[in-house]
Subunit: 249 residues, 4 copies
């Protein structure tokens, strides 16, 4: 790439271990990736892993729910990659804690905390990346810039004891739809994935071990997102679901 | 009612002019009503109107988005009607301002303000009324206690430029679903109405005047809520839509 | 009613015992009712019951899935009530058998039979009643004419082993939506009810007896339909669900 | 492939020009393809085109709505490729005529014809291919067998004047969901695509020419189906939408 060509990156919020790391590795095969997660410790091995596979990765410990932290990450990115850096793909994969307590047994912080964090994060991240996506993709060789949100079944259904989680997922789905309708005509592909099932990560080790393939592979989520990114503007998918073959739904 | 029988009331959040007032008048035909709205000025004529029609109404200027204001309203209610006051029907009809600005043109306060206010209000109100509903309705003569949320088309679809509004409506719908699944088995009827169209109020005077009946009648919303309240526990409706006969949808 | 005033009736397809009978009794409190069901035997006691309660009822054994049988019922109705008879409310409540066999274990007749019967019935019935509804309701005193379809959870979800049933319920829902959008602007209220749970009838005796109120009351379905019929044209509900308080959903 | 290894094919119903042809060409890069369409004339150039690109294609003029015609196609396939032929991917892409006439202006044949043809076709095709898919995919190198249905916006919404079309699309969606839930646990991936917009074919030449990219590319539909086929069983997508970037929805 010549020094005058702007760098084009993928940026992942929630690039911690598990799904985020898989997405990071997948997009690193196509772009330099910028990785955001709360803890440096979880980012370091991922950066090394990507570099070992000839990818390029920058990691910034960032709290995307905090606007100043998010802005700092963008400033740091520009400082390293150039002020005219472009975003080809932006993935919002941030997890947030939620309570399963009964409604009357939960404090406002417990019950509304997940919503507040998730929505602030989705908002800050979208505000930061969309200006770096607009006007991209004019190059017919490249894929249209994509902004992808990780959702869940709770984006469609408010389960008993899951109001805290569902509120955050419903709200992000509303934002994703609204952004798709606003920025689609401007050439930006906004998509939302309904991840319906247990994801196969370190944390879920031990679940369903007797039934191979019954947990969603993080690599497959990453493939889905990469596929979404490769869709041409004639045929954008806004929403798809992902679930194990044996999941009850 | 003997002095030893606990008073059973209907309570309406967002009892301002228009839909809230219509709901208040309808439920005042069945119960003493407690009316919450920001401004005393909008409550006064409504209280007089209800009293003129032999109803009983208390009004407390209340900001339900503020937990201490909401708690004060409950304390005032108990002070006037007894510590053992019961809630037969609770209607969350609070409106909140939202922006129609483009996503990148809006401030966080503008874009997320509607969500925050609406969700805080719905949360505070539900926390306040549900304990006064639990255990009601054991009397087979009475209707099961009902908690009803006013929703909108934006609870189902995040329109272009309507992300701010849609996020708040999606989130409240998630909460309503979750509460329905948690409190239904406890005998409380939680419902959500999709109001799809322009409501016929002072503020919408002049719209569609050429087409009689093309705006939703606040009295009809009130009738719908009253009907929902009268459903027995064998047959709860969780969600219904309401739209003018000529609305495009 | 003077001899020159056209008779205005309610007509129910699937007026057999259970839900159909409850609907018939409810609408007989407002209109002379015309009852259609396959067997005369199931209609006779219902007619007597309605007459005993000072209602007026005509019953025609009819196979609504057969166009000539449906047409004969309309001709018989006109012969008895006048050529200019008007329909205020038309309820499509026909049940059809469906298979729960595995897809590959079912014959085409088994798997597609429910769809064919249900759709033919819904089509024939709608074709017969809509011309007798158009132009009604011009009288501001009367309720807008309503065409109401009984649906089920299977109208929203194709369950494992329930494809046969779901296809018929999905298809009727499509028809109901399409009719609502075509005939709403002409003043006809088309509605669709999602009945989600076991209905409390002779056939379901013995189910859930240990849990009072856990089966949907046919009378409550009838009340819901009557309420829908009373909505003014400013505020039509197209769809509502009905489920027991303790139903898992 | 040794003579003793069963042949593994992709089979496409509705392999006429446009979307069907694009799907055929895409899957021919991975499998020998069997092409079904009503007219031999539309199949011939497609077969030649695939062969020119080093693919392998068999074409059988078939009316999949007719069970004997569908069975003949399977028999012909087995005669040519072996009795133990396996199906890796089966695409139901059959179009059917539907009326846009008003409900009361349409004949039963017009209004219900699309439903009957589509549902018979989907049923016959699924009955024919599923037995050839079961037990496939045990080989970990290969993709799980996939049965994919082409749907439309009308699968989600019954528009005014589109009841005929919507009934057929709703019903197929019900079948697809039900098959997904029945055959997913058996390792078969059943998916449904919501194609939302005008497809860029010979027939739609002239539409929206002023707006490049505003019609859905048949090749992109084909890519979406191929992507669905490549999903591992840990992460099946049941439903996705496809729409042009500028489509209003």
């Amino acid at each position: 790439m010549s020094p005058t060509t702007p760098k084009t990156i993928a940026i992942i919020a929630g690039a911690g271990p598990g799904t985020g790391a898989a997405i990071a590795r997948r997009f690193a095969r196509g772009y330099p990736v910028v990785l955001l997660a709360r803890s440096q410790a979880s980012l370091d091995p991922l950066v090394r892993d990507i570099q070992k596979n000839n990818g390029s990765a920058l990691a910034f410990p960032t709290d995307v729910t905090d606007i100043s932290s998010m802005n700092r990450a963008v400033a740091d990115t520009k400082a390293q990659l150039g002020k005219d850096v472009r975003v080809a793909a932006a993935i919002f994969n941030m997890a947030s804690k939620f309570t399963r307590k009964g409604f009357l047994d939960s404090t406002p912080e417990e019950y509304l905390g997940s919503l507040q964090a998730t929505v602030n994060g989705a908002y800050n991240f979208s505000q930061a990346v969309l200006p770096l996506m607009l006007g991209s993709g004019s190059n017919e060789q490249s894929h249209p810039p994509a902004l992808i949100f990780t959702g869940a079944t709770a984006a469609l259904k408010g389960g008993n004891g899951l109001g805290s989680f569902a509120m955050s997922k419903f709200a992000v789905r509303a934002m994703a739809q609204s952004l798709a309708r606003e920025f689609g005509p401007k050439g930006i592909h906004v998509a939302h994935a309904i991840v319906d099932g247990i994801i196969d990560t370190e944390q879920t080790k031990g679940f369903h071990e007797e039934m191979p393939g019954s947990k969603i592979s993080p690599d497959q989520i990453a493939e889905a997102y990469w596929y979404l990114h490769t869709q041409t503007k004639t045929s954008f998918t806004h929403e798809l679901d992902l679930r194990p073959y044996c999941e009850s739904w």
